[in-house]
């Protein structure tokens, strides 16, 4: 599904190398987790994959189902099935959540040559999916993420994911700023979306999210590289011993 080879990335306006040769393959239907200390390049990876400005790929490649991602515009990557749940979901004043969702859904359908969803169908689906995420009608009416609590914002990200039905979901620190209940709700939302044809890349600093969203593979990232890959037990190891031991081990 997602294949990253030797990815080198620097900041566009600064001479600062952030990713220094990332290699990663996420197979269809699998959940991969990337853990790592702050500043290891985890979020950069998610931004580069989704096409945010400000980064320059100096080497390597990234493909989704064999198609080159890095040359595409952000919306083309989205239409290709890539979804990023933002660490800090953006507030868009004045734009209703529903409007936003419907515009996005139809834009992607259009890009893929599919019929646009009728209002009735759209609403039906939104209501259904919102309900399982405990998103009430009021939240759907309010402007995108404006005045949402941390938990509401993250639930809203998952709702978008559920509506857009991507193939490849990247969750960037989705657990940050969530209390236990909110984390549970969000994780359940994610788990409900797990399927054979859908892969996940869960970026997190802490192991606790992985208690709820069980990964198949865990990678440890540090200093712009993946330094160790293992099963779920690797996450527990980090939880117990911290990153210091791992880093020392590699060096």
């Amino acid at each position: 599904m997602l294949e990253i080879k030797n990815l080198h990335v620097k900041l566009e306006n600064e001479d600062k190398q952030i990713l220094k040769g990332v290699n990663l393959t996420v197979e269809a239907g699998k959940v991969h987790a990337i853990m790592g200390p702050n500043g290891s390049g985890k979020s950069t990876l998610s931004y580069v994959l989704s096409g945010r400005d400000g980064y320059e790929v100096t080497d390597g490649e990234a493909t989704l189902d064999g198609a080159d991602l890095l040359d595409l515009e952000p919306e083309e990557r989205a239409a290709a099935g890539l979804f990023l749940a933002f660490q800090y979901p953006v507030e868009i004043p004045g734009v209703g959540n529903l409007t936003f969702l419907r515009t996005a859904v139809n834009a992607q359908r259009k890009a893929r040559g599919e019929e646009e969803l009728s209002s009735a169908d759209f609403l039906k689906v939104v209501r259904e999916r919102a309900k399982t995420l405990k998103i009430d009608a009021d939240m759907l009416k309010r402007p995108v993420n404006v005045g949402f609590s941390g938990g509401e914002k993250k639930r809203n990200e998952i709702l978008q994911m559920a509506m857009l039905e991507p193939k490849m979901c990247i969750l960037d620190e989705t657990d940050s700023g969530l209390d236990v209940d909110a984390m549970k709700l969000v994780s359940e939302g994610v788990n409900a979306l797990r399927s054979e044809g859908r892969s996940f890349l869960v970026i997190t600093h802490y192991q606790r999210l992985l208690d709820h969203i069980k990964p198949d593979v865990v990678h440890i990232m540090a200093n712009g590289r993946i330094i160790k890959t293992g099963g779920p037990e690797l996450a527990l190891e980090v939880e117990n011993n911290g990153y210091a031991d791992l880093l020392a081990e590699v060096e």
Binding site: E73, R77, P89, V90, V95, L98, T103, A104, A107, A137
Partner: protein, 509 residues
Amino acid sequence: MAALDRPEMDVKEGVDQDTVDAVAKLSGKYKYGWETEIEMEYAPKGVNPDIVRLISEKNEEPEWMTEWRLAAFERWETMTEPKWAMVNYPEIDFQDQYYYARPKSMAEKPKSLDDVDPKLLETYKKLGIPLKEQMILAGVEGAEDYKEGERKVAVDAVFDSVSVGTTFKKELEKAGVIFCSISEAIKDHPELVKKYLGSVVPVSDNYYATLNSAVFSDGSFVYIPPNTRCPMELSTYFRINAENTGQFERTLIIADKGSYVSYLEGCTAPQRDTAQLHAAVVEIIVEEDAEVKYSTVQNWFPGDENGKGGIYNFVTKRADCRGDRSKVMWTQVETGSAVTWKYPSCILRGNDSQGEFYSIAIANNYQQADTGTKMIHLGKNTKSRIVSKGISAGKAQNTYRGLVSMHPKAKNSRNYTQCDSLLIGSQCGAHTVPYIEVKNNSSRVEHEATTSKVDDDQLFYCRQRGMDEEEAVALVVNGFCKEVLQALPMEFAMEAQQLVAISLEGSVG
């Protein structure tokens, strides 16, 4: 397509989708850019006392009206064009314009809509305007309490210089409401016209208003009797069709004690290489406890992407809140015209009177807009609110110009002004020129203004969700304008949202 924020969308699914489809079909070009082939009758080019007399005569006006016009013309000849606005355009040759044009078929005024040239009706049909009852625009966006067929809009359509028909006349008459063309009003209700015409915008007010006073050929007249809620929305659609023709319409709205009316105004003009002149005057009189809402969607041809052609729009709009507790609300969506010079204002004379101004001004390509409002607080406990959203793109210049004046006697009055500008691209300009004059200390004035570019994070977020850049910009800009869009009657809000998106096409990338 356009951002349609409708929490109540479920109420009217079908209509909603149709509309969205319709909008999706609109191309990036000016939607209203065709002209109608109708045989026209013109007065000779230029303006002089003879032309003024001719216009008066064509309208079969009484002597006092002719004199009023001639006095205005005399005054106009002594005036010079104002230059203080931040707009640049080639010198206008006021003698190289037609001041009177009307479809030949109108030489004999139609008795009813059935008598109107079908081509004309076709024109309005193309514009999507509900000349006929069955074409009521309403229902596009369903309000919670909306029921099909109940919502009506009475329309007066002005084609070049002439009113071609007014709908729902009978029903309005039953309520005591007078809604007709101003030329009819001059003949049929001279006492009202005499009393109010020029009482808000005096003949000598400004260069363009004075010219209008001399040569206005038609426009709309509204009188709402005391304690009457106008049973439907009233609306005028203006269209400039003939080439080299200036349009000078005059609107007079009188809301008598305790009455209420919502009035909508829409404008379009064909695509032409040469600039066309439009200088209108709108006067509103609001008596005690009365309320008037005046909404405009101005979509005159803005000129092409190289700045050729387009309408020069010099408009004087003013409301006089004469009575205590009177209220007026101006809402405008200005997306068209090559040059816009327009400051809908409120004179808050009555105690506890209120004025509101909500504005979206979009300037793209080579458009120039200099628009804003004046809130003149004269009475006690008067309140005003200004919300202005300016969007500049391409090589356009967009200026907010406003005055808030608290006179010494306007005790305990309030003003709040929020004035935001959004820039799209590095070659456009956004300017803010407010004047704030406070002459008593029990009043409070607050003015805030911001200028920024479209937020990159917001655009990226939208694009990550699959929208292309243009779509993302349209969505974010509609969000930016939300407060103003909400102030529009729902029929207009829909149209305005689409216009916002269309006006910005080609502004990114």
